[in-house]
Subunit: 247 residues, 2 copies
DNA sequence: ACAAAAAGATTTGCATACAATTCTACTCGT
DNA sequence: ACGAGTAGAATTGTATGCAAATCTTTTTGT
């Protein structure tokens, strides 16, 4: 479904001379690049949720014309990152708390499925690799290195889904994950819930190593539910709410 | 959101003569319409899986220019219905057996989640409605009315997912369903597996009425697995394979 | 005759121009 | 003051032209 870079093409005949790194590698379509840049801008909050996105303004910003930008916007809309209204332009998707909760529920179900499929396929090598990731994450946790911890955390989940071997699942998981990347990005500043999360991750690893798909699935669902609870206690500026602390 | 027919504008001065059906009702963007038409063309096989889609050809066919068509193609690509290769055009997505199996697995997990969520929300009215759909379907089954049976079948599943109340789930389910609509369309000609499917549907209805989410989820997963098996026994011309009959 | 190279024809990618629609600010009548 | 109506600006939607890349056919060297 996703296009892959085909490197099997014959090399251009003029490759003999000294190569400047001035690669003619501008083979990348502008609309793709635009889509990527827009995703980043949304995740990092340069475009705020609910904000109107005027085509010409973004074109000036990115240095391209409206045609490829509009193509990129259609893609982002299909991914759920922006909302399009005919003749009335685009706005950055503004997820309601319900939307976020719904998204976590679905992601939870997907990860649970991933777990059940993964236990049927993993070899000892895969598990060893997961163990490495896990203990790297644990190390960052004890050191209080927040960004690295979060990055590893996400890697662990992504890797587990990959281990399912189900291409459609992987793709769907990535797409939904993309919608809440901003929430994750923001949550990146808050350190709550470390111990519980690590404990759950340990159980995940155990269940995976024991090839207990049912248990792994259950843990994952629970883990995602808890993750949602944590996110719900963070306002959109990335600070924990005062009302309750869930850890 | 709600589009209203704006009659407050001054009428075009040449409206007096007999109206061709050329309604000024062009509120709908062409790229949307194009996307819809393309989806239909793919589902109905007018564009065959793996077939190259040349822009100009489709534009002539649909009577529009390349700009809106290209926007529509990006959407279809994001939906997984076509595959885009930079500078080399688009082809209708050609799902491998593995892709189809993967898709059914994910859909199964989504429906299972839908079931668990639905039992928490449905009222007696909803259940009564599901019962009506179910018995309509049963009637079509006993009468051997294949297309109507399939249509109702799909309605039942779609309705169940709707009853989950989870917007993200509904959306994701529809998108994945769209990818295998062609398989469903083709399967429409084959009548196998009626009794078993109806039996499973009956169990689904029971579990829903009993608000037994866990059981409903299990039935749904099983049901989808069986559906996959059935689809796997149909070649792409819509005829059952001779090697084995699963009912 | 055959492979490599070159020339020509298609096809895709992007920018621009213009039409259609919506948005904004203003006028006018009560 | 105030809302309906209206000109003008701003914004989106679509068509077209041209450049870049790819595909096809022809040519050329051995």
């Amino acid at each position: 479904m996703t296009e892959r870079t085909d490197t099997s093409r014959v090399a251009p005949p003029l490759a003999a001379t000294e190569l400047t790194q001035q690669r003619p590698q501008r083979r990348r379509p502008l609309h793709e690049e635009a889509a990527e840049r827009l995703r980043d801008m949304i995740v990092e909050g340069e475009l705020a949720p609910g904000e109107r996105v005027r085509e010409q303004a973004v074109c000036d910003r990115l240095g391209l014309s409206r045609t490829p930008l509009r193509e990129a916007m259609k893609v982002l809309a299909a991914e759920g990152l922006v909302t399009l209204q005919p003749n009335r332009g685009a706005t950055v998707a503004d997820l309601s708390p319900a939307d976020i909760a719904d998204t976590f529920k679905v992601i939870g179900a997907l990860e649970a499925l991933a777990g059940e499929l993964a236990v049927e396929r993993v070899d000892d090598d895969d598990i060893a690799e997961m163990r490495v990731l896990h203990y790297q994450m644990a190390l960052h946790q004890t050191r209080g290195e927040l960004p690295e911890y979060f990055r590893l955390n996400q890697r662990v989940h992504e890797r587990l889904v990959e281990l399912s071997g189900n291409q459609v699942l992987i793709e769907t998981y990535r797409q939904l994950g993309g919608r809440i990347q901003r929430q994750r990005f923001v949550a990146n500043r808050w350190a709550g819930r470390w111990e519980q999360a690590m404990h759950e991750h340990e159980q995940m690893l155990d269940a995976l190593a024991a090839r207990d798909g049912r248990r792994l699935a259950d843990i994952l669902r629970l883990h995602l539910d808890n993750k949602l609870t944590a996110v719900e206690h963070i306002d959109r500026d990335g600070r924990p709410r005062h009302d309750a602390a869930a850890d």
